[in-house]
């Protein structure tokens, strides 16, 4: 007698939906409509007048936009099909995006941000009518100040790299205000710090000096001392680094920087492993930032908008970007950026829906809950590391044998040397099991890298399942390398051609550009 519920195999027999779905423009039928908009009532027309004629001629369209014309039901089907061709955070065990810190963004917070009290707000609204949302911004800043130990926090920026840019912009403004802008032209970072630090410093006009790890795989204090000089504007470091290794001499690093008059900037985009355990200011840092979408439970939102938070010491506070929300007595007011401020890096007060989500996330957890997040994230990571390192061919270079904080940059180099199968190919094959990973930032300092970061969100069963998928693919690489090399086999898309994305002559980010570039001007 067969069981009414068939037992499931140890590894999922996953297969991605594939709909062969056309581009929405190809689905258009002239005249088809989703909503029939009623005409403007005569009373309204009389009261408002001819709005269009008041627009400058250059802003007025000569012809209606070429939008797809479709009924509602067809639009719904189109987007549901596309969504089924995705492998998103709500479907797979999304721990393969290490350094991105994919974690659960509680769905209840989506209800909060859809309340009319928020959706109907306008950033130029009179603050007297916006006391609630301004208080949420202010309270969230105060909580982040407590978490980082910093004196002041701004939630103005719309993402991590924007926040890092603000860090270096404040540092530059600080040195210029002290008359040392011309002298301090160098920024020091480490090869395993998040590369946005080097990028932002370079974009701000600095010469960037990169340090390599010492013999034990830790950030090299001696190299730092060699690099520091009166020309140094700042050190900009991530800790724990992208390898998951925590710099045990972080206080000495900051002290050494201060010793030559430089500032110390802490990339805490991902503070998942240190919430409630260490604080940037306690190590002496002058500046730090968080990504709300990495640490505080807000969605990454398909590449944006995220939300950044900049924390600074009192000495740097005048340079924070603005406008800012302030409390005066029991009222909350909006203050335009001050004289020394680096000004606006983004419009208005930041990404309010994400700030509300992060506020809700922190308030739901409380101080003990935030610390528990860090503890579970670290436990999860070290549990997973033990399982991964049991797979023949996998290793964790640098600080070998030591524990990691919240993520690990692993290597498949041994497996690659045995089989010729690359980490990238393994990551693609993982999608055949309904999982995936990216490899690492470039350049690949760890050879054949993969970076796993389990966070607090994933259960032991999920981590076991993920490790089992990796073990199975490593076995395939030895026994049946061709299957791995030619993967994916159970996906919507087979191989993508990056040449099309690297070549401005070929890339097309709109339908019109696609028509023009591939079918000629007449088609567009």
């Amino acid at each position: 007698m067969s069981l009414p519920v068939a037992p499931k195999p140890a590894l999922r027999r996953f297969h991605q939906a594939s709909w062969d779905e056309p581009i929405i423009f190809e689905l258009s039928t002239p005249g088809e409509r989703g909503v029939l908009v009623t005409g403007i009532e005569p009373g309204v027309r009389d009261a408002v007048g001819d709005v269009v004629s008041e627009l400058p001629a250059g802003l007025r369209r000569q012809a209606p936009p070429a939008l797809p014309e479709m009924g509602q039901m067809r639009v719904l089907k189109h987007y549901l099909r596309l969504s089924q061709e995705n492998l998103g955070a709500d479907l797979n065990v999304d721990i393969g995006q290490g350094t991105c810190t994919m974690k659960y963004a509680p769905k209840v917070n989506e209800q909060l941000i859809r309340t009319p009290g928020l959706t109907a707000m306008h950033p130029l609204q009179d603050p007297a009518d916006a006391q609630g949302v301004l208080e949420i911004v202010w309270q969230t800043e105060r909580m982040l100040a407590e978490i980082s130990g910093m004196d002041e926090v701004s939630l103005h920026t719309q993402g991590g790299s924007a926040a890092i840019w603000s860090n270096i912009a404040m540092i530059r403004a600080f040195h210029e205000a002290n008359g040392e802008g011309e002298q301090r032209r160098e920024v020091i970072t480490t090869i395993f710090s998040h590369p946005s630090n080097a990028a932002a410093a370079k974009a701000a006009g600095y010469d960037v000096i990169t340090l390599y790890p010492d013999a034990d795989g830790y950030p090299d204090l001696e190299a730092l001392k060699r690099a520091l000089s009166p020309r140094t504007a700042a050190i900009m470091v991530t800790n724990p680094e992208d390898t998951g290794i925590y710099n045990p001499a972080i206080k000495e690093w900051v002290d050494a920087a201060h010793g030559v008059g430089a500032l110390a900037s802490y990339d805490q985009a991902n503070a998942n492993g240190i919430l409630g355990i260490t604080r940037a200011r306690d190590a002496g840092f002058d500046v730090c930032h968080f990504n709300l979408h990495k640490t505080f439970g807000t969605p990454h939102a398909c590449g944006g908008p995220g939300a950044g938070a900049n924390g600074v010491s009192a000495a740097l506070a005048p340079f924070l970007p603005g406008p800012r929300v302030a409390r005066e007595g029991d009222r909350f007011v909006v203050r335009e950026a001050g004289e020394q401020s680096i000004g606006a890096v983004a419009p208005f007060f930041g990404v309010i829906p994400n700030i509300v989500r992060a506020y809700s996330w922190m308030m739901a957890l409380g101080a003990e809950g935030l610390r528990a997040v860090a503890e579970i994230a670290v436990l999860n990571n070290n549990y997973l590391m033990k399982k991964v390192l049991e797979i023949p061919g996998a290793s964790a270079p640098y600080a070998t044998g030591r524990r990691r904080i919240e993520q690990v940059r692993y290597s498949w180099q041994d497996l690659f040397e045995d089989t010729g199968v690359t980490s990238e190919e393994i990551g693609i094959r993982a999608s055949d099991f309904g999982m995936h990973y990216w490899t690492s930032h470039h350049p690949y300092v760890v050879p054949q890298p993969f970076t796993l970061e389990p966070t607090e969100s994933y259960s032991m069963a999920e981590l076991d399942e993920y490790a089992a998928v990796l073990a199975e693919i490593a076995r395939e690489a030895r026994d049946d390398a061709e299957t791995v090399r030619t993967a994916p086999h159970r996906q919507t898309v087979h191989h993508t051609h990056h040449d099309d994305l690297d070549d401005p002559e070929r890339w097309a980010i709109t339908w019109r550009a696609y028509q023009r570039k591939y079918f000629g001007d007449a088609a567009a």
Binding site: T210, L211, A215, Y398, E417, G420, E424, P443, V446
Partner: protein, 378 residues
């Protein structure tokens, strides 16, 4: 079309503890010690990968043990275009490489070590791409695939895609007689165009140079902005230095040291004595890159930049220029200097600033070779 050259005695000296297999005498001693070459076996693994993807492919090769035998054993169809002598020697490899290129081989797979690579480079020049199937004792040159299987994968992809992008890579070899006396002195013997498989779906979290050429250009651009008027620059050998010379608008001797002053090349292929007399005329600095995969800055392929020259250059003698990837490829090992004078070497040891691009440098540890193997490993 694929070409194939097997060095049938490659690696024979390794198991015999002879630190290499160059020359008939060593090969005879290795044979007497009961050693056998694994060249055929390793070639078979690589060709097996090619054969499973492209059964019955025709391969341009050499008669007998230098290619045809193993090609046939792997299930490929050998087309013999060269006949070796008996017993085979280094000249056979050089002749065969030339014959394969003449017969229209676009990618030459060769089985051996650095000595084989050097002989292939001598015959092939830039007429075809080449890729080493690792089977030698010494493999300092970055012209070998990481494994025979990986070499087969690249060759199969080459056939499937009608070619792949190539990197110009240095062919290095050490003097085995010196190696037997515990001295590692690789020299630069030329270059080969080595194919690589670009990533299929490279994760784009950070902007990166699209390829190695771009990285070399970026490093050279960074170095060019460090060049000052009135200073003589002693440009060492290597592709990065050639690119720097191109940016400075001067010609460059590929394997030599050229002296450049205020946008003019004042000496090409300078000797130590010429360098010393140039330095005596005014301020000067040596500009060097990281040679090969071992991390030597001085003493390998640029012996003209001697201890005497370094002493004459003064307190800050070196401008080091290299793409970041060259530092990364050291896998945590330090850069090395070996001028032959321990005091000069000790003065250079510690940390050095390496120009990796416009406005970017890295601080990287430097050791003298007697300290080689210490520290800075992952």
């Amino acid at each position: 079309m694929l070409g194939l050259i097997v060095n049938p005695v490659a690696g024979i000296g390794g198991p015999a503890g002879l630190a290499g297999s160059d020359g008939a005498a060593v090969q005879a001693r290795a044979g007497a010690r009961g050693a056998a070459s694994r060249a055929a076996e390793r070639a078979l693994i690589a060709l097996g990968v090619v054969a499973s993807a492209h059964p019955g492919t025709r391969v341009l090769t050499v008669a007998g043990a230098m290619g045809a035998d193993v090609a046939r054993a792997a299930g490929l169809e050998p087309v013999v275009v060269a006949q070796p002598g008996e017993p085979t020697d280094a000249a056979d490899t050089t002749d065969a490489a030339r014959a394969l290129a003449d017969a229209g081989a676009s990618l030459v797979l060769f089985v051996g070590g650095d000595g084989t690579a050097r002989d292939v480079a001598a015959g092939l020049g830039s007429d075809a791409a080449a890729l080493g199937i690792p089977a030698g004792v010494k493999m300092y040159s970055p012209v070998f695939a990481v494994s025979p299987r990986a070499a087969g994968g690249v060759a199969a992809a080459w056939l499937a895609e009608g070619g792949l992008p190539v990197h110009e890579q240095e062919v290095l070899d050490v003097d085995e007689e010196a190696l037997r006396h515990a001295r590692v002195e690789p020299r630069l013997f030329g270059t080969l165009a080595v194919p690589f498989r670009p990533g299929r779906t490279q994760a784009r979290k950070a902007a990166t140079p699209a390829d190695e050429h771009a990285a070399v250009r970026a490093a050279a651009r960074g170095a060019a902005s460090a060049i000052r008027p009135g200073v003589r620059y002693l440009l060492g050998p290597g592709g990065t230095m050639t690119e720097l010379a191109r940016r400075l608008g001067v010609p460059k001797t590929p394997l030599g040291v050229d002296v450049v002053l205020d946008g003019r090349r004042v000496i090409a292929g300078a000797s130590e004595a010429e360098l010393l007399s140039e330095i005596a005329r005014g301020p000067a600095r040596a500009v060097v890159t990281v040679i090969g995969g071992q991390g030597f800055l001085l003493g390998r392929g640029n012996q003209q930049l001697s201890a005497r020259v370094l002493r004459a250059l003064g307190d800050d003698p070196l401008l080091v220029v290299a793409p970041e990837q060259k530092l990364i490829d050291l896998g945590g090992r330090p850069l090395l200097v070996d001028t032959g004078d321990p005091r000069v070497d000790a003065g250079l040891a510690g940390f050095i600033r390496v120009i990796t691009g416009p406005s970017t440098t890295s601080i990287y540890p430097v050791n003298a070779p007697e300290h080689e193997g210490e520290g800075h490993a992952p």
